[in-house]
Amino acid sequence: MRKAAVLIISCWSGFMVMSLELLSGRILAPTFGNSIYVWGAIITIFMLALSLGYLIGGRLSLRTPTISGLCALHFAAGIFLLPIYLFEIPVLDAIFSYTQDPRLGSLLASIALFFIPAVFSGMVTPYSVKLLVSDASAAGFYAGLQYFFSTFFSAAGTLLTSFYFVLIFEVDQILLLFMGMTLLVATGVFLVARKAP
């Protein structure tokens, strides 16, 4: 039960973070173009944010990690999607007036818009592993299980977003959909896990 709850959050967290990375290319393109620099900057910032998230999440898991704590981290990742929707245009305009270089510009824009939600997504991983592992000898097995589910759903998110969602929805609608789903998953898992023994 507890493990299922952890894995559900792992799945959606993986789905959401890679879909967000894909959307970020669309969000930046009108201002900084679609050159290789823009994708380079986006991937760099997501990797940096995730690495920092792994570090902090691992650190947090040293204290007594709980399902509620995991739900809170996931909830925070969702909440921080809202500023992207609210402020993307003014933030991009401000950065473009500061620098018109697509390299620096898209690095700064990626930091401003995507860094925080990606850090929280990264925190989910080590925190989940700690919740899954009850016996040190099985640590590798559970780490593998967590990576499998989150990365498999990252693949699913990338494919569905790039092949289908963009054909039906607007970028902002997809963003709000992801935010809603993230908050729903976090809250749902929190409520169910609290009732369960």
Binding site: P30, T31, G33, N34, S35, Q100, P102, V166, L167, E170
Partner: protein, 290 residues
Amino acid sequence: MRFLAALALIALLIPPANAAQIHAERSLYRNMIVTEEDGLRCLTFRRLGTGDRQTCYRLSNPKELVFPYTKMMLGALYLNPNPARVLVIGLGGGTLPMTLRALLPDVHIDTVEIDPAVVKVAREYFNFRTDAKMEVFREDGRVFVKKQMKTDIKYDIIMLDAFEDEYIPEHMLTKEFLAEAKSLLKPRGILAANTFSSSRLYPFESVTYTSVFGPFYNLKLSNRVIWAQNGALMSLDEIRANAKMLEPQFAAFGVKSDFLLTTISTKPDWDTKTRVLTDQFSPSNLLNAR
């Protein structure tokens, strides 16, 4: 046996020798191949036989425009035979800017090309030359337009030639981008765009251009070229008159007005209720896929 298998593998990995290929280069964005066959030197993106030829020029007569679409793009001069400043987005082999230079020695030409390797190949194999009034900017077309919006520079003609069959820069086929480009046009300035005549994308791009420019001239031969204007569209009578005037100059390039103006129309032949492409909704590549 194993040795033979290895040899066979190596033979498979080496592309077959082809006399037509004179240069191949892999850039950040694409494979570029320069070929020479039947007196034509061509630039192809992708592999031999599978990619579309981007630019060709006849070695015996480099001036001649080999492809209909370049003639259709050049036809934008019918709407303004004497531009002072032109913006060309997408260089290819440099045919459009070089033809403009040959026709109009004084016109100021800004060219934008995202791929530095394309600029290099255009220089080395297609005689592309910059001069005091012709500059190449190696950057994303939309970023260039956004930068120019911060200056006072306005253009008489913008030629948008950034789309390939294989890949469309989706952020340059949206209502917002076209509005930005329009804001760089002088009053009655012209946007000529080389786009797509078939595929599901056709109605989408049509309504998107209409949403920004209103009615436009639609030329459909093998490609589709759009002539849109900032302000009232020039009448077909005036266009025909200008075409007649330009006929002698255009002859050297193989451009004939009776060829260009046969299919011209402002009448929508698409579903006008189609969804407009925007920065929020721009799945052009998915729509263009067959």
